[in-house]
Symmetry: C2
Subunit: 138 residues, 2 copies
Amino acid sequence: MDIQYFKDLLHERALKATNSRLNLLTTMLAYKSAMPYSAIQESMKSVDRVTLYRTLESLKQSGIIHKAYQENNETYYAICGKKCGHQQHSHDHIHFKCLKCELVTCEQTTTDIKISIPEFVINTTSIYLEGICKLCKD
Amino acid sequence: MDIQYFKDLLHERALKATNSRLNLLTTMLAYKSAMPYSAIQESMKSVDRVTLYRTLESLKQSGIIHKAYQENNETYYAICGKKCGHQQHSHDHIHFKCLKCELVTCEQTTTDIKISIPEFVINTTSIYLEGICKLCKD
DNA sequence: TAATAAATGCAACAATGTTGCGTTTATTAT
DNA sequence: ATAATAAACGCAACATTGTTGCATTTATTA
Ligand SMILES: [Mn+2]
Ligand SMILES: [Mn+2]
Ligand SMILES: [Zn+2]
Ligand SMILES: [Zn+2]
């Protein structure tokens, strides 16, 4: 993933490759973990907050970023994988918040997760875990 | 669960049994499923919104209600079970949103859910499902 | 380089979160 | 039953975020 990847991706989704969008995406990429809105705002303070709002909306709509988690009044955003498309998110990962470093990350689980409720039809599953991450352990 | 149960519960948690709290709790109980904030506000429009805010906060803090789900700008609240206490929520259920009736409910899963990520320590697990509920099925 | 649809910035308003403070009320002690 | 007291309430006030409209600017295509 680099700036050219994002440019192509934006064009593919019929979005203009504007500075706002490219800046946001490269910033989020550099951030590694899911990026809290306050941090996004901080690094995007040159653009109007309405533009930031619409930038997040359009990228979310187009399956380029997703809302990884929301707690209290902080929303965390992360970049989507290749499976997501326009109006069609498809995530097979879970979200984890480390209680030590406080980072929110997208993680793969080892085992397949099958959750069922008798007589209910389940379409989508969202899992959020809290604990200690690999790096903070020991 | 009735009004006396709530009165005792509030006293047990060192909270005054005020009209706001009793009204909120009985309303939520009658609502059956997790109650969206907008509906709570609607049925509590006689009290100041700051009081409603503090009422929700105090009940949440004391383990009497919990935030069942939050989507877009709607937060859903539900009454806690007996296991929750002051500063100590302990939920073993999951949250389900029916895409037909749009109700959010607290549900028990049949099988024990064990999710692991290699080298991570997991403290708490939150699961949110979407689909069709028992009543809306068929 | 010109045309055009999309994106941006700004103004404006709504909703919710949050605190301070003076008044009211639930609870406890007399 | 009454009085004392800490908790809760209502109101004002301010912050943050969400959201839309509209005129101007910009990315893309012809
Ligand atoms: Mn994710
Ligand atoms: Mn619940
Ligand atoms: Zn960590
Ligand atoms: Zn249903």
